[in-house]
């Protein structure tokens, strides 16, 4: 019971981080507003023909994907988890659970902050707030629903860092796989063939493209909600097993300072 309280308190503590110095957080999050406008504008220049998305919907789409992506794999928080590993081994807590709750808290707080920014900026792009309430409610639901997947992939990287310090160089490329192939730049459904069919079957599409599609249209693209949810569960299970394997391997071979 005390363990559960510890994990939830930790998640809540990390969740509040962006709101403690909100002026500084706001300055850092200007990039989000810029990318939402910039990527929507770029999409309009090159891909506006033959698509189901209008400028308003693509703006909301990029808003959701950027919201999810900018909080997806953060090198700093991934490294944080390994820095006190030697000390943590002496504590009666689970390191994996500590990492999971910590990442859920960090990403949850930041994503909520981004969502609030999105609520504020959408009227400036001609999107009325009241008819979009359903969209914002669905996005909030997706932030909660996708939190475990995001936390698990960050935990996997923390566990990998315990084993191989070089993996820190691969955080950026792995995040690019999701960025490029997951439809963060623009809807995968508008990509040219054969890339469209290939990307739609990759996990990145489930975590970003399908999530944004659900937020905007209320349902996933070319699949049922249950099917999408099952795919997310399988991704989470796979990530958890990998994280567990590398954590156990890392704990067995870990060399503390001076090792």
């Amino acid at each position: 019971m005390s363990s559960a309280r510890y994990y939830f308190k930790l998640a809540w503590f990390r969740f509040r981080e962006p709101f403690t110095d909100w002026k500084s957080t706001l300055v850092g999050h200007i990039l989000f507003v810029f990318f939402v406008w910039f990527l929507s504008w770029m999409w309009l220049r090159f891909s506006a023909k033959n698509t189901q998305f209008t400028f308003q919907t693509i703006l909301l789409y990029v808003g959701v994907t950027e919201l999810l992506f900018l909080t997806f794999l953060r090198a700093r928080s991934i490294q944080d988890g390994t820095e006190d590993f030697a000390l943590f081994l002496a504590r009666p807590r689970s390191w994996i659970l500590r990492e999971l709750f910590s990442h859920v808290g960090i990403a949850g707080g930041a994503r909520l902050f981004y969502l609030l920014i999105l609520v504020v900026i959408t009227p400036f792009f001609g999107i009325p707030i009241l008819p979009s309430l359903g969209f914002f409610a669905r996005t909030l639901g997706l932030i909660i629903l996708l939190a475990p997947a995001q936390a698990l992939i960050s935990t996997l990287f923390s566990a990998l860092l315990l084993n191989f310090s070089q993996t820190r160089y691969f955080i950026l490329p792995i995040s690019k796989i999701f960025l490029s192939l997951g439809g963060v730049f623009g809807p995968v459904s508008d990509f040219g063939e054969p890339y469209r069919s290939i990307f739609l079957n990759l996990p990145g599409s489930d975590l970003f493209f399908q999530a944004a599609h659900i937020a905007i249209f209320g349902h996933p693209f070319e699949q049922s909600f249950a099917e999408w949810f099952l795919r997310i569960l399988v991704i989470c299970l796979g990530l958890y097993l990998c994280a567990l394997f590398f954590y156990l391997r890392g704990r067995r071979r870990f060399e503390a300072w001076g090792g």
């Binding site: 200007i30 070089q166 950026l172 960025l179 063939e193």
Partner: protein, 266 residues
């Protein structure tokens, strides 16, 4: 004579940086391959979204490739050979300029050689190989134009980072704003959104020294003309002048480490 002495100093410093990078080959190759894959995926992702299966956009697609390879190479060269410039803002905040100010050499030069970023070898590798292939295919004249634009773009990037490094001379706590501005500059010079855009917009970008880094060089390489070359040269001269003036003005406001300690303690 002074130029060659400075060049020799840069090369000597970078020889030691490289020896440090190479001392653990696993780390070196992990960094290089990681950045190489990162760049490739970013390039491929935008291509797949905007240009794949669209032959009507072939011209823009070629320009997009040149823009990215050029930005990669010059961004990488700056981070590898003059990496200290990219950390100038942090050094100003933390009083890190103390040691370079006591030297008889130019403080900006001394600051620039204090660091070299290992993963940026991946940028240099991908951008360099890509541009060499384009140069060989394009012939002698194109290769010469390419070299000219690489030099201009490199100077442009060095000035952009120095300008951003000057911000803390006037404003405190720039640590959240500077990464945002760097990302904005990179976005304009890697995504194809502004390629072939009306001239008036480009003039605006020259004034806010963004386009000299990649957009105008790409325009020159796609459609070589004296007017575009003049625009790039003028842009580079402007941004270099602005950088030197702001840095020397800012240096007068610099607070050394003991002063920073006193201020923080108060």
């Amino acid at each position: 004579m002074r130029f060659w002495r400075s060049l020799r100093l840069i090369l000597t410093a970078n020889r030691f940086h490289f020896m440090a990078h190479w001392s653990t080959p696993a780390h070196f190759w992990a960094g290089v391959i990681g950045m190489f894959v990162n760049n490739f995926l970013a390039l491929f992702g935008v291509w797949a979204m905007l240009f794949a299966g669209k032959p009507e956009l072939a011209v823009q697609c070629d320009a997009y490739l040149v823009l990215n390879l050029l930005t990669m190479l010059t961004f990488g060269l700056l981070h590898v050979f003059l990496g200290g410039l990219t950390e100038l803002d942090k050094q100003v905040v933390d009083g890190g300029l103390d040691s370079v100010l006591v030297s008889s050499r130019n403080p900006l030069l001394m600051m620039s050689i204090t660091q070299s970023h290992l993963p940026s070898w991946g940028d240099v590798l991908m951008g360099g190989v890509g541009l060499v292939i384009l140069g060989v295919r394009g012939g002698f004249v194109f290769s010469f134009e390419l070299l000219l634009m690489v030099i201009c773009s490199f100077i442009g990037f060095a000035c952009v980072f120095t300008l951003l490094g000057c911000v803390p001379f006037w404003f405190s706590r720039p640590e959240r704003l500077n990464p945002v501005l760097i990302n904005v500059v990179l976005a304009f010079n890697t995504y194809p959104a502004l390629l072939d855009y009306p001239n008036r917009f480009r003039w605006f970008l020259v004034l806010g020294p963004v386009a000299v880094v990649g957009l105008i060089p790409t325009e020159f390489l796609s459609h070589p003309s004296l007017s575009v070359l003049a625009l790039e040269v003028l842009g580079v001269v402007m941004v270099v002048s602005l950088t030197l003036v702001l840095f020397s003005l800012g240096l007068k406001r610099y607070q050394s480490t003991p002063m920073i300690s006193l201020r923080r303690g108060a």
